[in-house]
């Protein structure tokens, strides 16, 4: 008995063989999976270009190239004919063009989403394209209107210039962006009971000059600037303390059909929309007028027809005073800067909703030490211009003009 037990046990020892196949679990295929590329809700007219996308299966490491998305309403949808069920790392990059606040823009984008489950139960997933900031937009980064002093100590006022910078992360087009000077000046003597008081809804503008173009002719890269000169010449040839503005991108030229005493230099001209003077335009040397930039939404004729109210008031003498001006709707405004004299700031000539503070240029009306300086917008630690819509905090006066030669 024991001998039999022993032999059978030995046989069992030899024959303990277990067979099973190496198990590769059958992969479930997800048919017609959909990845929605959701476009930012704060821009419109989005067009997707140059799309590249991948779906990497976390377990196998297999990379599937995503096909070109198809527009579906405001968004784009990528349909994947067949994909193994699993977890995926998704990437998408490309370029979009869009319109924001009337300003056309374009930006590259790159988004990713990690560890996303794609399964038969969850065949639709989403990628959100919003990793850029179209805010910031154009800002007035420098206002240099103080004029300079010649070596002979004479005033020289022809060398004013403005710098507009793209403070966003996307390419913006400067076409139809206008430079505006306020009609009124901010000192107490300028404060009058004009009727209508358009400031709650518009800028009472004395000068409006617009960057021409069909919408995409003047791209400005993120962080790049446009210089608008009053007169785009090398002013050092007549005043060695002045600036060389021949490199300006645009200049102001009063193209008003004959009365102009302005000189048309080689630099492209801004389109003349409106100016209180027909002869020569000198921006505020006393730094008591406000400046703004706006996206013009109507052509010159239509604009002048729709936005040319003339406010009036009755002076103490009984005379009816008129202010021939145009109005720029506040909704069109991209950036506004109130300027004033430190000891005599009477009123906000541009609505406080556009700029809640002001930059003090001169200390008082007798102060001339601001000559040869400019007002500059501050930058934050990331290198972006600060724009809290409060010039008291956002800009500082008496800075070295950027166009001043360093040698």
């Amino acid at each position: 008995m024991k001998k039999n037990l022993f032999l059978s046990a030995m046989l069992m020892a030899v024959s303990t063989l277990f067979f099973s196949c190496s198990n590769d679990e059958a992969n479930i295929t997800v048919k017609d999976g959909a990845i929605t590329l959701e476009m930012p809700i704060n821009v419109s007219d989005v067009v997707l270009n140059n799309f590249e996308g991948t779906a990497t299966n976390v377990q196998s490491g297999e990379v599937t190239t995503l096909p070109t998305p198809v527009k579906n309403g405001d968004n784009y949808v990528i349909t994947i004919p067949s994909l193994s069920e699993g977890r995926y790392n998704l990437t998408a990059k490309g370029n979009i063009t869009f319109v924001k606040d009337g300003v056309a823009g374009t930006t590259d984008f790159e988004v990713n989403s990690n560890d996303v489950t794609i399964s038969q139960k969850q065949a639709a997933v989403k990628l959100v394209v919003n990793s850029f900031k179209a805010e910031g937009g154009f800002v007035l980064s420098e206002i240099c209107t103080t004029g300079t002093t010649t070596p002979q100590n004479k005033n020289y006022n022809y060398d004013a210039y403005f710098v507009i910078t793209n403070n966003s992360d996307v390419v913006l087009y400067a076409d139809s962006v206008a430079l505006i000077e306020s009609q009124y000046q901010s000192g107490s003597s300028g404060m009058q009971p004009w009727d209508p008081d358009v400031r709650p809804y518009a800028i009472p503008a004395g000068s409006v000059f617009m960057i021409p173009g069909n919408g995409t002719q003047h791209p400005v890269a993120p962080g790049e600037s446009i210089v608008i000169a009053n007169n785009a010449m090398d002013h050092r040839t007549v005043n060695e303390n002045s600036y060389d503005l021949t490199s300006a991108d645009f200049e102001v030229y009063l193209d008003n059909g004959g009365n102009s005493m302005d000189t048309d230099y080689d630099t492209p001209n801004l389109e003349y929309i409106w100016c209180y003077t027909n002869t020569i335009w000198i921006p505020s040397v006393q730094q008591n007028r406000s400046y703004a930039i706006a996206r013009m939404k109507e052509n010159k004729e239509t604009f002048l027809a729709n936005h040319s109210v003339t406010p009036t008031y009755t002076a103490t003498t009984g005379k009816i005073m008129e202010s021939k001006q145009v109005q720029i709707p506040n909704e069109w405004v991209l950036d506004a800067v109130n300027l004033g004299t430190e000891d005599d700031f009477g009123w906000y000539v541009i609505s406080e909703t556009l700029d809640a503070g002001f930059v003090a240029g001169r200390a008082n009306s007798k102060d001339t030490t601001q000559r040869g300086t400019s007002i500059k917008r501050k930058k934050d630690s990331t290198g972006k211009y600060i724009d809290t819509n409060n010039s008291t905090n956002d800009l500082e006066a008496r800075q070295v003009p950027s166009m001043k030669s360093q040698d």
Binding site: E38, P40, I41, N42, V111, N112, S113, N114, D115, V116, K126, L127, V128, N130, S131, K133, A134, E135, G136
Partner: protein
């Protein structure tokens, strides 16, 4: 003879995390369009989601400590009913999401414009 006590495996791995955006009492959130990237501080593994419902997003996570980074656009109306659409960011370098079944956290938002 004292022996090591029997060890029960700790297998309560996951928590359903609700990450909300703290917009204060005065704003009424209409829509949030954002990507949330949630990084496990211990493993540095990142999961992403954009499935916001209102101002909250729910996602099943491994219990642990996380860094949360949310960036996107929020549409809201103020007390006067005026609607705004603004870019925002909500970031926290340390959030504990260790609840056995569910966890909650709220991140303050910073407007980027």
């Amino acid at each position: 003879m004292a022996l090591t006590a029997c060890h029960q495996d700790n297998e309560d791995y996951y928590t359903l995390a609700t990450i909300g955006l703290d917009t204060g009492d005065t704003l009424s959130v209409e829509r949030v369009q954002a990507m949330a990237h949630i990084t496990n501080l211990n493993s540095r593994h990142v999961v992403s989601t954009s499935d916001f419902i209102g101002s909250e997003v729910n996602i099943q996570l491994l219990r642990g400590a996380y860094q949360v980074n949310i960036e996107g656009i929020i549409r809201y109306s103020d007390k006067q009913g005026k609607s705004y659409t603004r870019s925002f960011r909500a970031v926290s370098d340390y959030v504990e999401l260790v609840g056995l079944e569910s966890s909650r956290t709220k991140l303050k938002i910073i407007f980027l414009d």
